[in-house]
């Protein structure tokens, strides 16, 4: 249901009963006033000599007309404000239109009277029948009559014309309410016009807002629907804009996650296929040459290790790229973590001919962090140390008064200070060919740096005496030494 139709229905539902109640009350009030006036008028006639006697003389033809002759106002009592009996009209009181004290009532009729015997039987055949149960000695009101007609019944002292019924006119049922002039239409029309003027723009703005919302939805809620209004509709539009912003953010986040997932699947597929192919090659060599292929065996082991690390790194990388929210921060025992990482890399180090050593505190060294991210970061550093180290790699975890420092050291070629930033960037893997770095996947340091950052830590690089690289994960502020 449209707003306009709803407003019209509500207005009608409120106005109609109200108007009908006013009409009914007014009609009843005016009918009662007309009856009282008719009673007073009839009693005046009863007191007039010769009036009831006329009935007694010829009840079968008596109509209540006053005796003929010159008017004598001194002899004929008149009800206050009533006209002469010959022109008797029952009319409503109110401001006069024309002569003072006389207000012509449209379609009014002269008062008529009907006589009845003591037994209640009409004395003329065309007299209306009396209702049953009328009191014998009391004035009766609410006599049955058509609309616009009032009747009253009065007992008399006459044995023949024992009861007189007077009949007069009153205002028509609706005519009693409406003012005599049409001036009343002005304020009514003004009110209706004001309502239409007020409702019309509201309906138009709501329609505009509806169209704007539809356009915004078609444009992924990128368009604002606010119309600058400072009323409730303006507030509704602003509320929709706020909701649309949230929807848009969630849409973007969802799309970003979907894109990251697609990227992850595509990258994983691509990156896994190459080492898998190499691994197949090594296994084929082994099958052909048996145990006499130590190089193929080492290569197969290396590729298998690389595959596992690659998949873990891609997963962590996708998570770091899309998940900026709070980490799964839980107590993490770095001592156990380092021992796990070193144990995992010992076979690789041995295969590469690198002596991997570790030093950890005798007890747990616990921090709050994400164990998966931290373990992946430390694993990447250790993996790099093994890959680039010539003969030695070492992992040292030392507690500090405020925190810890975890150093991963190798005796490899090291890196120039100005190359650190490029190594930490992920851009090296952004080339279309996604070629594999000569000794690794290129994601390791990027992930380690991002994980450090997420934990409020820093990754610092420095040389090793005698040649090599020292990477420290710890508080920011440079190498702890």
């Amino acid at each position: 249901m449209t707003l306009r139709r709803r407003i019209a229905l509500v207005t009608a539902a409120v106005l109609l009963p109200t108007v009908l109640a006013i009409f009914a009350w007014d009609a009843h009030d005016r009918r009662r006033a007309a009856e009282q006036e008719l009673i007073t008028f009839t009693r005046g006639l009863l007191a007039m000599p010769g009036w009831i006697e006329g009935c007694e003389a010829d009840p079968a033809r008596w109509t209540g007309r006053r005796p003929t002759g010159p008017p004598d106002s001194a002899r004929r009592p008149r009800p206050p404000g009533s006209p002469a009996p010959s022109a008797a009209r029952l009319r409503r009181p109110g401001p006069a239109a024309g002569r003072p004290g006389f207000v012509p009532v449209p379609h009014s009729e002269p008062a008529r009277f009907f006589a009845y015997g003591a037994d209640g039987q009409p004395l003329r055949p065309d007299n209306p029948a009396l209702p049953a149960g009328l009191p014998d000695d009391a004035v009766a009101l609410d006599m049955p009559a058509r609309s616009g007609i009032v009747r009253i019944s009065l007992p008399t002292a006459s044995p023949i014309c024992a009861r007189i019924v007077g009949q007069g006119t009153t205002e028509p049922w609706l005519g009693g309410v409406l003012p005599a002039t049409h001036v009343w239409l002005v304020p009514v029309l003004a009110v209706v016009g004001a309502v239409l003027l007020a409702v019309g723009p509201v309906v138009r703005r709501i329609r505009r807002l509806t169209r704007a919302v539809q356009r915004s939805a078609d444009a992924d809620y990128a368009e604002s629907v606010a119309d600058g209004g400072r009323d409730e509709i303006g507030a509704l539009a602003r509320a929709f804009d706020a909701a649309a912003r949230q929807v848009r953010e969630q849409l973007e986040e969802t799309r970003s996650r979907e894109a990251a997932l697609r990227d992850y699947v595509a990258n994983t597929t691509h990156d896994v296929m190459i080492p898998l192919t190499v691994l197949r090659g090594h296994l084929a060599e082994l099958e052909a040459g048996g145990a006499a292929c130590p190089d193929a065996m080492r290569g197969a082991l290396r590729e298998a290790h690389y595959l596992g690390a690659l998949i873990h790194n891609l997963g962590v990388s996708a998570r770091l790229a899309t998940d900026d929210g709070p980490m799964h921060a839980n107590p993490v025992d770095l001592t156990a973590l380092v021992e796990r990482v070193v144990a995992r890399h010992r076979p690789v180090a041995r295969g590469e001919g690198v002596d991997l050593q570790v030093a950890v505190p005798p007890g747990p060294l616990t921090i709050d962090g994400d164990v998966t991210l931290l373990e992946q970061a430390v694993g990447n550093l250790v993996d790099n140390a093994i890959r680039y180290g010539r003969a030695h790699a070492a992992v040292v975890l030392d507690p500090l008064p405020a925190g810890f420092v975890l150093a991963v050291i190798d005796d490899g070629p090291g890196i120039e200070p100005d190359a650190v930033e490029a190594m930490l960037a992920r851009g090296g893997r952004a080339d279309a060919a996604r070629s594999r770095a000569p000794k690794g996947q290129g994601l390791g340091l990027y992930i380690a740096a991002r994980v450090a950052e997420r934990h409020g830590l820093a990754l610092n690089f420095g040389p090793v005496e005698g040649g090599g690289l020292r990477v420290e994960l710890g508080p920011s502020g440079g190498l702890a030494g």
């Binding site: 596992g308 799964h328 021992e339 005798p362 164990v371 005796d411």
Partner: protein, 229 residues
């Protein structure tokens, strides 16, 4: 090694290749191992003489976490969780449910065996109170070191150095940790000071060559009598 010869490990792994392979690795390392290839509640017979449970999570039947929860209600046997998912929430949940350690697949057989042995050895290490390593005896109360029953005549710093290294024979101790423990914090702080003390200590412990230099880290006391780091 003798301490782990009779140790028994229950491996709960459904993969038909991986499960038997894990058992072979454990047996090859001198441990007894049994394989359970389905997920179901463990009863007393399953756990009879078991010193460690290796529990895979994704099992047909009952999930590994459910097995772990039920196991913890009745037993304190150590549990090493195996998971193919490198997910922090899984690890945290596993540890909260009472797992003692976890490993993420893939892993090397050597790594797996080392983790199992470390977990089995841990209570033994905790029970070690006195320090006697081969020909070396340390009296911590009298702060005296004897080599082959004869006092080595160590200075305070040398004794502290030796005590720090002998707490975990075979394990490397970083230079920072040694310096923080034995050197005067208000001293000159020359990194070579520690090397000088170690050099003097080596001479006093000669000819056994108990103290080894660990590249990039610091020093360690050579493990004797099968002690492993």
């Amino acid at each position: 090694m003798m301490a782990t010869m009779s140790r028994c490990v229950l491996v709960i792994e459904d993969d038909p290749a991986l499960g038997p392979q894990l058992v072979r690795h454990l047996v090859g390392a001198g441990l007894a191992a049994r394989l359970l290839a389905e997920g179901r509640p463990l009863d007393g017979e399953d756990l009879h003489d078991v010193d460690l449970v290796v529990l895979d999570l994704m099992l047909p039947g009952q999930h590994g976490f459910d097995i772990l929860r039920q196991l913890r209600a009745t037993s304190a046997v150590p549990v090493l969780v195996l998971s193919a998912r490198n997910d922090t929430a899984d690890k945290v949940r596993g540890l909260q449910l009472g797992a003692d350690d976890y490993m993420t697949k893939p892993f090397w057989p050597e790594e797996f065996v080392a983790r199992v042995q470390a977990r089995l050895r841990r209570p033994l290490l905790e029970r070690q109170a006195g320090i006697r390593i081969g020909p070396l005896e340390l009296d911590l109360d009298r702060r005296e070191a004897r080599l082959d029953g004869v006092s080595a005549g160590l200075t305070r710093v040398e004794f502290e150095l030796l005590a720090a290294l002998s707490e975990r024979p075979g394990a490397a101790v970083s230079r920072r940790a040694l310096a923080g423990r034995v050197l005067d914090p208000d001293g000159p702080g020359d990194p070579r000071t520690l090397d000088v003390h170690v050099s003097r200590l080596r001479k006093k412990l000669a000819p056994h060559g108990l103290i080894e230099t660990v590249w990039g880290i610091g020093y360690r006391l050579r493990a004797l009598d099968g002690e492993a780091p």
